[in-house]
Symmetry: C2
Subunit: 334 residues, 2 copies
């Protein structure tokens, strides 16, 4: 394994210059930074952990990169991160990747140059599709730990906080079978997200384990008229006696539409949806919800990162914490 000293010798500069260049110090010219980084990359240089722990310029700031600020779940996770970070005297600064790999990389670079001590992030959709992970690995090698949550890159060795989406829909479907429901439909507005696909798979697995049942799935696109789609879905598939919704909007509209069509909830039809407490108030009767505990996810991610940042020299073991969903039963199921 190559050391700072060897890099310095080969480049004919001081060790301090190499170190500063690797940390993007303003004192070092751009050309030198480029030269040092290229050689370090060529030799796959990894910073010495003890040396890193001696690094003094702690910013007491955590960088957070989230894919989409309009996603209520992500906004709540961010809230949880913020609250926990503050408890420990950390500030957070946030970049939004807008589901773009390029913007995710830019955000990492922007904050990695001296602004933050570590990162908490959820992977952008484009990054998930292209499966590119080098930018994460480089950041970690640079001495900045990363904690990933919800949408994680399995090929990156780092701490992770994930949700049991698959189990949640599998269990909820089983619960509806327990009510002796004969025609359980799955409705989703979020099928383009990995988490939406995971929820559908949990439902499918439970359905396929039962004889005489087949998956009955409605996928709604963003540009669709949600109310019309759901109403015509009910009409085309008479006898639906349970709905499991992958998101709050699908669940709320499904329940309100069922009532509008003259069905009694929960006598004729049960409805369960991934949703928050406040969403459950948007139907009468109140919606039975699968809660993701977004704030807990954020808090856990912040705790993991802070532990990692204080762990000197850092341990190589990485942790994956699973935050279990919980089902909050109301009068929308039997």
């Amino acid at each position: 394994m190559v050391t700072l000293k060897q890099l310095a010798k080969e480049l004919n500069v001081s060790i301090s210059t190499v170190s500063k260049a690797l940390n993007n110090s303003e004192e070092i010219g751009e050309a030198t930074i480029k030269r040092v980084k290229e050689l370090a990359e060529l030799y796959n240089y990894k910073p010495n952990k003890v040396a890193l722990s001696l690094k003094q310029n702690k910013t007491k700031t955590i960088g957070v990169i989230i894919p989409n600020i309009l996603n209520r779940f992500l906004a709540k996770v961010l809230f949880g991160i913020e609250r926990e970070a503050n408890k420990h005297g950390y500030n957070i600064i946030t970049c939004i990747s807008n589901e773009s790999l390029k913007k995710e990389k830019e955000g990492l670079q922007l904050l990695a140059s001296g602004s933050v001590d570590g990162f908490i992030l959820s992977v952008a959709e484009e990054t998930q599709i292209t499966n590119e992970v080098e930018h994460f690995k480089k950041t970690i090698n640079q001495g900045l730990p990363i904690v990933m949550f919800d949408r994680v890159a399995h090929d990156v060795m780092c701490d992770k906080v994930i949700v049991d989406d698959f189990d949640a829909t599998y269990n909820a479907t089983q619960l509806l079978f327990g009510e002796n429901r004969k025609k359980i439909a799955f409705i989703s507005c979020i099928n383009d997200l990995s988490v939406g696909k995971l929820r559908e798979r949990g439902y499918n697995k439970a359905i396929l384990e039962h004889k005489n049942q087949e998956p009955l799935v409605l996928k709604i696109k963003k540009k669709d008229d949600h109310q019309k789609k759901i109403k015509s879905f009910f009409k085309k598939n008479p006898g639906i006696d349970a709905v499991l919704a992958a998101d709050s909007s699908s669940g709320i509209i499904a329940l309100n539409t069922a009532v509008n069509l003259g069905l009694k909830v929960p006598k004729d039809i049960s409805v369960i949806a991934f949703a928050s407490k406040s969403d459950s108030n948007h139907t009468l009767p109140q919606l039975t919800t699968i809660r993701q505990h977004a704030k807990t996810i954020g808090e856990t991610a912040a705790q993991l990162l802070i532990q990692r940042m204080h762990n000197t020299p850092a341990s190589d073991d990485v942790k994956t914490n699973i935050i279990k969903t919980s089902l909050v039963k109301t009068k929308s199921i039997l």
Copy 2:
């Protein structure tokens, strides 16, 4: 007016040192920075605009400080800022003040030290209450322009983007009078926010202009059971034939509760609420909504800031843009 040169002379250091110290350069020791800043403050030093325009270290980054990430309106404004900033090649980094004056100050300081070229922000609740504005003025004097949106500090000379909340509820109430409604109620979950109070005042003004009508207001607290509160409000005040809601949740629950109580919408009762397009799908019939155009607010704020940052030497005139709400009529009103 004191110049850099005079400060340098009095402190017996170079002009360059004073300039770097005022910009929190890493090259300058903390003690020197403190000494320089104290004297600059004592003399109320204001950076020369032409000199500022020559400042080369543009970060091409905009700092955004928002009070509450769980507020959907603010999240959407942030989305609009992001989109517009990107179009012009700017990144954004965000700090959350959590409605705290202290955190707002920290966020400004954190990002002002070399991370951003300017700020877009909405003022924290605590800042509004205490009416403290020195931290904004200092940031602007430091050469970092600020654009405020929605919740603005009127005592700070800077560009602003605001919403016509008062007019929106005034006009909506007038519209309900036009339907010959006799008992128009106002329901709000956001009465603790300045914008909630403004909306109530618009409603009150319209009501008080009509003989034989008195304000009928339900204020719901966060910890309340929203559904119960609204149901008992309807029962205690028989004959309510119109509801104007200050927020989406109040509007959705009010409409669903009216239906549940056997009222026909809009024959027996009209409902209008501040809400987004997707919220309007959470009721049957769809909810008539007052749209705030949050994304437009964000885009306008970003445009104002970018213009201001490119304006060399800067003009002293400040602009206030008012983004008008629009009422999107559906079948929840006559």
